[in-house]
């Protein structure tokens, strides 16, 4: 193949993707994100729920309220732009009806929304973690498989201590081994050249 042919082939390879731009994957994938509260059992007098930060804009329709069970896992289906928060509610003040979300189009919706707003403004509901990350998108080439956030609560202090752990896929080995092999090959090329000189 001539150099001109190779140059043409190279440019074709570069241009080809844009011919079919509509079906190109933008190159990102969504990974699993887990949030776990590690010391929930230290506070037996409290019930913990997750929900939106209702003072920050998004309502209870996009960011519903879920009870956090004793395993400490924050579960729930949230709109990705929700500013997820964790609240501690005194057991004797906890009202199960905040969890029973009616249909958004039903007649009860407005009163439920108002009830939630008033309930979360009460002094008996403490915001203990703000802005939980529940959604993550990484480049296709990323080695990240999932992310686990572990939060340790301190109810006397509003700021929880959070720890992030990233679980990686097998690509990490490829990204480590391949450059080492390439470095060895380059070294061998340069050594042989020096010997032959």
């Amino acid at each position: 193949m001539t150099k001109l042919g190779l140059v043409t082939l190279g440019f074709l390879l570069m241009v080809m993707p844009f011919v079919n731009a509509d079906v190109i994957n933008p190159g990102y994938r969504v990974i699993g994100v887990e949030n776990k509260i590690t010391n929930l059992n230290d506070y037996p007098d409290y019930v913990f729920v997750s929900g939106g930060d209702y003072s920050a804009g998004f309502g209870v329709s996009q960011c519903p309220i879920y009870k956090i069970e004793s395993d400490g896992l924050v579960t729930g289906d949230y709109y990705k732009l929700c500013n997820i928060a964790v609240y501690a509610i005194k057991k004797d003040y906890f009202n199960e009806s905040i969890l029973n979300r009616p249909n958004v189009n039903s007649a009860e919706w407005n009163s439920y929304e108002q009830f939630v707003k008033d309930y979360f403004n009460s002094a008996n509901v403490k915001l203990v973690i703000n802005d939980l990350k529940t959604f993550a998108e990484v480049p296709e080439s990323s080695t990240q498989k999932s992310i686990i956030y572990e939060h340790t609560l301190d109810l006397s202090n509003k700021n929880a201590v959070s720890k992030k752990e990233t679980i990686r896929n097998d690509l990490i080995y490829v990204y480590i081994i391949v450059p080492i092999v390439a470095l060895v090959v380059i070294g061998v090329i340069l050594l042989r050249r020096r010997r032959n000189a």
Partner: protein, 99 residues
């Protein structure tokens, strides 16, 4: 992922081919070795340090030295070629990202 790598390799191969009067097979081999060394490291660094421009700068410097050594190019020429290669692959990456 492989596509992104091949695109980078294709761009850099074409640039190297234009600048160096040696067999295309050697150009491909050296280009492959350079990219197999720098591309995975750049991906890994990007995961912990999100400043793409600084990572590109690091790749530009590393590839400049590798071109100098492998292609026996002078310092200035090697770094001009590395700059062109990385600028074009960076632009291609941005086009794909925002397409």
């Amino acid at each position: 992922m492989i596509y992104e790598f091949l695109l980078t390799l294709a761009i850099e191969f074409v640039i190297l081919l234009v600048f160096f009067r040696i067999s295309w097979f050697k150009v491909l081999g050296y280009g492959l070795a350079v990219n197999l060394l720098t591309w995975p490291i750049a991906q890994l660094v990007y995961e912990v340090y999100l400043n793409l421009l600084l990572i590109e700068l690091g790749v530009f410097i590393a590839e400049g030295f590798l071109i100098m050594l492998l292609f026996k190019a002078r310092f200035g020429k090697a770094f001009i070629i590395s700059f062109i290669m990385n600028l074009l692959s960076f632009i291609a990456g941005l086009i794909i990202l925002f397409n």
